[in-house]
């Protein structure tokens, strides 16, 4: 029955499925059941997580996706370590709602922090089950057995041994996953904590890797969505006034699909679809309901906000009153975009037997629900398979593209691939929200921070995808308050010992008059660190204390001190000779091109990030260049230091891009950042030298490693700009125009 169901569910569904999985499934194991029926598979069974094959290799089934961060390699390191296998004896499979467990979305740098303990426990329990089998086979007690490369021996007697593959060989474990099996002591780790080359890279550089943009199904049609160039206010969606189908009469074979205000073209030929999407004449109703980039922060400040106190201790007002040094400033952070380098793409095949959907989602199960909703079918009839796209750095338009492809395939009755254009992706992203902050900090005469008050304004995340909003008329809606959407009490002041502190969160209603928004790497923490770490830097200079010394003086947490010291040592930080004025006697001193150095701290959920920036400023042109960025990260037990160094390196470069370049612009009617010219990012020629430092903590639990250094480095760059020029820029990005204006005032 299982076999028949699998074969029935096969056919087109098998696309992209590894041969091993097919063979494995046909052997009638529990994995076959999994491939034949909708998931998620039962998380309380070992077979859901681990399979042992006759050739003495293993498969780990993992619910987190590879996003270019190296998680797929690191999670296998954990499984291999616990199973006593070599890395070349273990692999994983594509994330698939019919195959892989549901571990939630791959967000918040959680793949290792949350996914690691689960796969470690499952692998340990699988090993325990294998040793129990080996004990019976070899007639020796479990405690006398040793394992090397999947071969179980009695003590050092190689004559008495059996391979995992011979014990189980593609048959199910059929044991529950209790999580109680003993795990390997950290001191015995050989693979975890060691540098491991990324398993996905060889195929990626040789063009063997298939990105979602490259999935091709037989008989597939090419779809393009047709929307106004650049979204307006979220509540407004996009409203069609009229469509002139005759405007594309010259392009044969193109079909226009319209569902309410959802509009698309579909063609057997991709170029025809591209041309048709461009040429189709559509009149859109574009209400002038945005404040425009220039009016954004006034609009946020005057909004009727929903206020809450995120954190409070002591009496901040009294402490500010008695402070010897006080800084009271306002900081601004723009909307920024995910803008994956390859715009989102999805391929859908909707048939009466069910739907297969291939896309680069951060959550196959989350996408399954969203696609089922627009199709009006049960979620269990939709199978979502993960194909990696270009780095997404949070919730870009992947679900929007998935819903669009699904609706078009349902309408046409054939497989449809929807490729977003560059302008679709830029213009209709769920942007990282803008942020406005009023910061008041005070220190006593000894440079001890005694007061910290932070008022922050921002809106939360949009929950309804554009495709659904337009096609079904589902009203725009927002997420509730929560982590990454409110002020972050970890980023804001927690690294310092401050007796009097208050964080006042001002949630701006974001449906009317604002852009669509969602989590963008280091969500809001870039803006928080830019404000908080700059305000404290201003306080350090006011107290005429070197910025590194000021920070050290105000913290006692050993892990924060260690990352701070690690980055200072790597950068060979030397104290300011002129604290208070920093390294520059006056804003006018020095030549046309001046240099400076700054420091910053940052985090997101639980790891510890520190950065130092060296910048060069051309005071005539206003151009700021990061010449060298240093980043240190304590993420607890780092499973793959090589991958985390790469993450730090990427975060440093992205911090330079986001702090110096990136800002979503919009008029009163729509977004005007529509490509790489109107939304510039850092280019190759401007890239800083980077130094990545992993502060390894083998005795601590693993925590996130993808977001902390972006925030730290953003603050460090801003502080370096002050060090170079003596002027403060309290709004990013530090564009040439803003720099020239700030220097003219100084």
């Amino acid at each position: 029955m299982i076999r028949r169901e699998f074969l029935k569910a096969g056919g087109a569904l098998v696309v992209g499925f590894s041969l091993r999985d097919v063979a494995f499934a046909q052997n009638g194991t529990s994995s076959a059941m999994r491939a034949a029926v909708p998931g998620p598979p039962d998380a309380k069974l070992i077979d859901t997580w681990i399979a042992i094959h006759a050739d003495n290799t293993a498969t780990a089934y993992i619910g987190y996706v590879e996003l270019g961060q190296g998680a797929s390699t690191a999670l296998l390191q954990i499984a291999a370590e616990e199973l006593d296998l070599d890395m070349n004896q273990i692999s994983s499979v594509r994330n698939d709602t019919h195959v892989t467990p549901n571990q939630g979305a791959t967000v918040a740098s959680a793949a290792i922090e949350r996914g690691g303990p689960t796969i470690r426990a499952a692998a340990a329990e699988a090993r325990h089950a294998l040793l129990t089998l080996a004990s019976q086979r070899l007639g020796a007690p479990v405690d006398r057995l040793v394992v090397s490369r999947g071969v179980v021996s009695v003590g050092s007697d190689a004559g008495q041994s059996v391979r995992y593959g011979d014990l189980l060989g593609d048959k199910p474990f059929s044991v529950p996953f209790t999580g109680n099996a003993p795990q390997k002591p950290v001191a015995q780790y050989k693979i975890v904590g060691a540098r491991q080359p990324r398993l996905d890279l060889p195929d990626k550089v040789s063009a063997k890797y298939v990105y979602v943009q490259q999935v091709r199904l037989p008989g597939m049609l090419h779809g393009r969505v047709v929307r106004p160039q650049g979204q307006g206010a979220y509540a407004d969606g996009a409203r069609i006034v009229s469509v002139d189908a005759a405007s594309i009469a010259g392009i044969p074979g193109v079909r226009v699909v319209r569902k309410r205000d959802f509009l698309a073209v579909v063609s057997p030929n991709e170029w025809d679809a591209v041309r048709a999407a461009k040429q189709l004449k559509v009149a859109w109703d574009m209400p002038a309901s945005l404040a425009g980039t220039e009016g954004l922060f006034d609009q946020m400040r005057s909004a009727k906000t929903i206020d809450s106190v995120i954190s409070e201790k002591g009496d901040v007002t009294a402490a500010l009153g008695r402070a010897a040094h006080r800084v009271q400033t306002t900081y601004r952070g723009p909307y920024q975009g995910h803008m994956p380098f390859g715009p989102n793409c999805a391929v859908a095949d909707v048939t009466s037997d069910g739907t297969t959907l291939m896309c680069s989602t951060q959550s196959v199960y989350g996408t399954r629900d969203k696609v089922a909703k627009v199709l009006g079918v049960p979620a269990a009839s939709v199978r979502v398979q993960y194909y990696e796209g270009a780095g997404t750095f949070g919730r870009s338009c992947y679900d929007d593209a998935a819903q669009a492809a699904a609706m078009l395939s349902q309408e046409i009755g054939k497989p449809v691939r929807v490729q977003f254009s560059r302008t679709d992706e830029h213009g209709w992203d769920n942007f990282g929200p803008a942020h406005l902050a009023d910061v008041k900090v005070g220190a006593d005469a000894n440079g001890k921070i005694i007061a910290y008050e932070y008022d922050g304004w921002q809106h939360v995340w949009s929950t309804i995808e554009t495709a659904e909003q337009l096609a079904l008329g589902t009203p725009a809606n927002e997420s509730p308050d929560g982590t990454s959407r409110n002020l972050n009490k970890i980023t804001l002041g927690s690294m310092y010992d401050i007796a009097n502190l208050r964080l006042n969160n001002h949630r701006v209603p974001g449906i009317k008059g604002y852009l669509k928004a969602s989590n963008l790497r280091s969500p809001l923490d870039v803006s928080f660190a830019f404000a908080s770490e700059q305000a404290l830097d201003e306080l350090a200079h006011m107290a005429t204390i070197d910025p590194l010394e000021f920070r050290r003086r105000n913290m006692s947490d050993q892990r924060w001190l260690a990352v701070l010291d690690a980055v200072a040592k790597a950068a060979n930080w030397t104290p300011s000779t002129r604290p208070g004025q920093s390294r520059r006697a006056s804003p006018r001193a020095g030549g046309r091109v001046v240099t400076g150095r700054g420091i910053g701290l940052g985090t997101h959920m639980s790891s510890y990030g520190a950065a130092i920036a060296d910048v060069r400023v051309d005071r005539d042109t206003g151009l700021v260049v990061c010449t060298h960025l240093y980043g240190a990260l304590d993420a607890g037990l780092v499973v793959n230091p090589a991958a985390v160094e790469n993450q730090i390196s990427g975060q440093l470069v992205q911090a330079a891009s986001r702090t110096l370049k990136e800002e979503v612009t919009f008029s009163n009617t729509n977004v005007t950042s529509l490509d790489w010219n109107s939304y510039p990012i850092l280019r190759f020629g401007e890239t800083p030298a980077v130094t990545s430092i992993v502060v390894q903590r083998m005795d601590q639990k693993s925590t996130g490693a993808g977001e902390e250094v972006v925030a730290a480095a953003s603050a460090a760059i801003a502080n370096a700009f002050f060090d170079a020029t003596g002027a403060r820029l309290r709004e990013y990005p530090l564009t040439p125009a803003r720099v020239r204006a700030a220097l003219a005032k100084a």
Binding site: G70, L201, A207, F341, A643, V653, D675, F684
Partner: protein, 166 residues
């Protein structure tokens, strides 16, 4: 019907002459090297070599490569072997190998263009200075922030190619 030579193989495809080369390579010839990034020649993800010159296939009409030799990422090792007069083509161009050695990529989507452009640079300028690399590569964007490692990979590949010439 358009006839073109891609990676030393001749192919005839049904395509309107104004069809961008990218769509022919991806859809008709099923090549996964060149890939869609912007369709505007802004980012470099679609780059190929046309007679050895890095070219944005997303804005190049297929009719314009008639009679020319197109090399994609898939054919880069063979192209290099021919230029370097090697008797057997390596599995990878030295720059591809250097990208693995330096663990330079993250999502890897930009690496088609990075490698194609880097290979063009190394064939014209075997020992480029850092400034030359920065200038040559400036038209290739990366969202993950892999520029510093790509820079190192190009320098490593230059050393590998110099060794191979000795």
């Amino acid at each position: 019907m358009v006839t073109l030579t891609v990676n030393d193989r001749r192919a005839s495809v049904e395509a309107a002459p104004d069809t961008p080369l990218l769509y022919v390579l991806a859809n008709d010839l099923a090549l996964n090297g060149p890939r869609f990034g912007c369709g505007l020649a802004q980012c470099g993800s679609c780059s190929v070599l046309v007679d050895g010159v890095e070219t944005r296939s997303c804005v190049t009409p297929v009719s314009r490569v008639d009679g020319k030799r197109v090399t994609t990422l898939e054919g880069l090792a063979g192209y290099y072997a021919k230029l370097a007069k090697l008797t057997t083509a390596p599995a990878l161009h030295p720059l591809q190998q250097a990208v693995i050695d330096e663990q330079a990529a993250q999502c890897g989507y930009c690496y088609n263009g990075m490698i194609v452009k880097g290979a063009e640079l190394l064939s014209n300028t075997p020992r480029p200075t850092e400034a030359q690399i920065r200038t040559a590569m400036n038209g290739h964007l990366c969202r993950c922030g892999t520029y510093p490692r790509m820079l190192t990979a190009i320098q490593r590949a230059a050393r590998m190619m110099a060794e191979a010439r000795r």
